[in-house]
């Protein structure tokens, strides 16, 4: 087996090489605090609900032979148990938490007992294996099992969980290999999991099976459904698609697997296809928060520029999947644009999901809450679509468990190495160990634009420290000793023979700014958004002392101004509109009242009780 290295994604080739999560220790700050909260609260919260909802007990029932009668939860609930196992595996690898280690060991033992002799393992379909590939999620569940197994292999070595994983992977290869069922799963996931298991074990059959699944996708091996085959990307082969389409999480997971296969097999055409799809998706199908997916009905991408804030779906899992995809493309290409999107998505579309305690979550992340939402269900699983406020658990609870595994392994997304040196992609307070140097990153980012990188230890030869300058950062500067230079978006590279005690100071301009949407995004015509650094802001009704959020409009002659804490303000006008029996007719010019619009970071919204909210705000006067 290859030398284990604790990375969520570990390609054998590519422009950049990841750093293991035990070599990047977050030290407080925006993300370090969230990672600690995840360890202290969220993972345990997920375990509790997993037991309460009966999803863990389904495996005991499998052992006891009481399925299907005893089964609880949706058909894919096994996957959420696996995602928590993955989160625990990363957390054990990161912090050595012994209690969670015991949980993983116990769970592995349970799985080993539940697994069939031929490697089959699923609590829903054991009596009707692979009878519903469109909706059954069996291979999707294996994928999450494998990602848990890979996390364990890379952080703790072989045990029951990893043995179960390998037996399951062998089973999948036997069942769905070249001589097996010529089918794919309705929900992609297993493709990237198989590649990672190949990377973790050296077993080439897993890569070949992943390639088979990618090659089969789009050849209509799945049945047509109400939403059409585009829902699960079985309408057109991966290489031929122009843009990510259909169900967002499915589309992004599939693209991750395609990149993994492309990288490991040297398929530049496939890699190029995914890069083009990413570009088109970013140019016309992504919310300003980085969120993706405008449709509730099928959790799908809308058409180009169909990005109404009202019913923004922007599922938390889609944001996480987007980070996973961009990270793979960053490793493959070394291009800053992928790290830019990761930053935007993490700070807005991902960070908004958990509440400040880390124990309740948004499933979908709207950009406009028109009415005061109902209080969340706290003593039962919430129906996902109803979430106008964060809820502790959902009938479909993919998002909390995805948050848990992502935050536990977040250190892995901060920096990389290549032959030239070290690349710092995300600004998180951290200790980073690499072959060429140990670094200490100090920052209060994103609340402050200063990022100091201390060189604690270094090899004695010349190497390059590359620091990403975000695309929004005009006139950033880097100071090294006495010299200061203005740097442009992309990677600012400082090459020299470093010495322990050296430091560089990056200064990012944190002036707040107005951002205008493309005129083709009709739903936000005449509106602006406030941004500062990587943060998108919003207006919450609780902060607007004397104005109606439904009619508030901001003056944009000056940028929004800081006004203490994390808030921004701007002069504004609002109006009391007349009640009309029919909302169409002659243009009305209501009397305007002066006010001040108070913005807060989007990711913080909804933490102070029911509130209405909007990210895009009308501009006054219209431009």
């Amino acid at each position: 087996m290859p030398q284990p290295m604790a990375c969520p994604v570990l390609p054998t080739t590519g422009a950049l090489r990841p750093i293991a999560i035990d070599d990047v220790r977050l030290t407080g700050g925006f993300w370090g605090k969230r990672q600690e909260r995840n360890a202290d609260r969220t993972i345990g919260h997920c375990l509790t609900w997993m037991r309460r909802a009966g999803w863990l007990a389904n495996f005991t029932a499998a052992v006891d032979g009481t399925l299907p009668a005893a089964r609880r939860g949706r058909e894919f609930s096994d996957a959420d148990v696996y995602k928590v196992a993955e989160a625990m595996a990363w957390e054990v690898g990161r912090s050595g938490n012994e209690r969670l280690d015991k949980e993983v060991l116990d769970f592995g033992e349970l799985l080993a007992a539940a697994q069939h002799p031929d490697g089959y393992l699923n609590t829903k379909f054991e009596a009707a294996r692979y009878s519903d590939l469109e909706w059954g999620h069996e291979l999707y569940c294996y994928g999450h099992l494998m990602q848990a197994g890979v996390a364990r292999l890379r952080t703790a070595g072989e045990d029951d969980l990893t043995a179960v994983t390998i037996r399951a992977a062998d089973h999948v290869c036997a069942e769905f290999g070249p001589d097996g069922r010529e089918r794919v799963c309705g929900h992609p996931e297993i493709e990237m999991a198989l590649v990672e298991l190949h990377r973790a074990t050296g077993e080439r059959r897993y890569l070949e099976q992943a390639k088979l699944f990618i090659d089969r996708r789009g050849t209509r091996t799945l049945a047509d459904i109400e939403f059409g085959r585009q829902y699960f990307q079985d309408d057109v082969p991966v290489k031929q698609a122009d843009v990510l389409h259909g169900h967002v999480v499915r589309a992004l997971y599939l693209a991750c697997g395609a990149v993994d296969v492309a990288v490991e097999t040297g398929d530049d055409e496939l890699l190029g296809a995914v890069v083009r799809q990413w570009e088109q998706t970013l140019a016309s199908r992504t919310y300003i928060t980085g969120g993706m997916g405008s449709r509730h009905q099928d959790e799908a991408f809308g058409e180009a520029f169909e990005l109404a804030p009202d019913r923004a779906y922007a599922e938390t899992c889609a944001a996480i999947a987007s980070v996973m995809l961009s990270w793979r493309l960053l490793l493959a290409t070394g291009e800053a644009r992928f790290a830019d999107l990761i930053e935007r998505t993490l700070f807005n579309a991902v960070a908004v999901s958990p509440d400040e305690q880390g124990t309740s979550f948004f499933y979908r992340n709207t950009l406009h809450q028109r009415r005061l939402p109902d209080l969340p269900v706290t003593d039962a699983e919430s129906p996902r679509a109803a979430a106008g406020m964060r809820a502790p658990w959902y009938e479909v609870s993919c998002c909390p468990t995805n948050i848990a595994r992502t935050l536990a392994s977040l250190g892995g997304y901060v920096a990389t190495t290549d032959v030239e040196g070290v690349q710092l992609h995300q600004f998180m307070a951290a200790q980073i160990q690499t072959d060429v140097a140990d670094l200490h990153v100090q920052t209060d980012y994103p609340h402050d634009g200063k990022v100091t990188v201390h060189v604690l230890r270094t090899v004695s030869r010349e190497w390059t420290l590359s620091v990403r300058i975000p695309s929004w950062a005009a006139n950033a500067t880097i100071r090294t000793g006495d010299s200061q230079q203005t740097v442009r978006p992309g990677y600012a590279k400082v090459r020299r023979k470093w010495q322990a005690g050296d430091q560089i100071v990056l200064d990012l301009p944190m002036t707040a700014r107005w951002t205008w949407p493309d005129p083709r995004i009709d739903a936000v015509r005449g509106c602006v958004a406030a941004e500062r650094g990587p943060l998108v802001y919003c207006l919450e009704s609780v902060d607007q002392s004397n104005a109606d959020l439904a009619t508030l409009a901001v003056l944009t002659t000056q940028p929004p101004e800081p006004s203490g804490g994390l808030t921004l303000t701007a002069p504004a006008r609002w109006s009391r509109l007349p009640d009309r029996s029919w909302p169409y007719g002659n243009a009305i010019t209501p009397q305007e009242l002066s006010s001040t619009a108070v913005f807060v970071p989007y990711h913080l919204w909804g933490n102070r009780g029911p509130s209405t909210m909007r990210v895009f705000v009308p501009e006054h006067p219209p431009q």
Copy 2:
């Protein structure tokens, strides 16, 4: 039994009294042609597909005892067969069509054979009666059976179909009466059907059962579902709701039943509640076309002012249900606002559904088609959500059959009588027979604003002819003999001792106009719509010779101008926008190109092959 009178809705009390469809004969013109097309093409088309899809054969299978194995179609397909039967009954009543009369007789015979001895009749649930009231639609199906039976009673008298209807109604009263199951149906419909059957037969138990269903609704006798109990209006009692909410067709059908019960039982509180809900719905939850329902996922109303044109659902059945509700409220109150909404809805949200041949239909009626739609499925049932173009049939084909029964009985919505005289609500070329007079209405409305009412026969005492002046019509005039007067929106009343040969000429101002949306409808900020008379217009890409519909903006200093045929034009600007990798940033001021925007009536769109389309168009410059 009461004297049969061929009206779709026949209250025993109320401000206005309907006129039977055999006393209002449409004579060509906009609606007359559509009614003929419905008789010649649509009803036969529905019959053909009903057979092809196997929905009619389900009843034969019930007789043969081959259910459930032989069953085809969705769980509610019985209802669509009943709706075609209703359409045929009205058509026989209207035109005496013998072929259709034979179809109804044969169908009644089949139903009589399929009905269980206790009156139960449903091809889906006979082995598990009333086991799924949330989704099973059993009572909904009875409702449509009863509406077919009522149509038959009122146009032809008793036969197999009406006997089956009465046995089914007695069965429902026994099963769901005061001593029966304390439940309601997940899809309202039976409430209004029972009231109408009470009106047609004089049987008071049916009214009492309808009242029971209305009283039970909102008391949570149905299970909670993912969409919440508001989906089927079981969240709050009818009298306590502020606005129509949840699934649109369910909400409107329920409101119809509530009005019917309120009118027959003298429950002014209930009637007042529905009127208030109608007002709130109109003020903030209705598209300019009269379409209702902005959400695809649960076919539901959105929040107040959540009216994005992009994903406007505006189901055809919802438009028809809205006409049904407003008609009931008009009969109850005599207020012109209800007739105004009927007109707007018929000319836009209903008329848009069928194509020019009457053999393919929109299921949902968007207000913005961003990309060239795929060609429709013509040789199979279309999945409903995919309809970017009209399709001949749908897996859920409620809309074509609803169109068929509505057009066959459309004469019933034109005029009414009261103690003062005759009220003309809709301007359709027609011959109208009433107790006080026979009238001939001549008009080319809505293409022309002139409506001439000839008095062909009259009683010799004084009576009042009331003519609705639409709310959009400023400075309309009425000429009677030599005298002409300007009349205001509402009912213009001419009282006199009429003589055969008299005529009055209504002249409605048909100048096209720009219409601005309320500023709270964020999704169309900065946009206008073109209207002329009752018609909403739209831009279709096929008409814009040299401009991109995605960036076209109109100058509104002058009203849109007629330019031959039915089109309107306005000076416009459009721009070629730069490709950008990220659609948010600094405001861009692209180079503008001059053009002319060409508008066509919304109801005609999509008849010339795949086209993009928009109703709301940006205004240039922004206001």
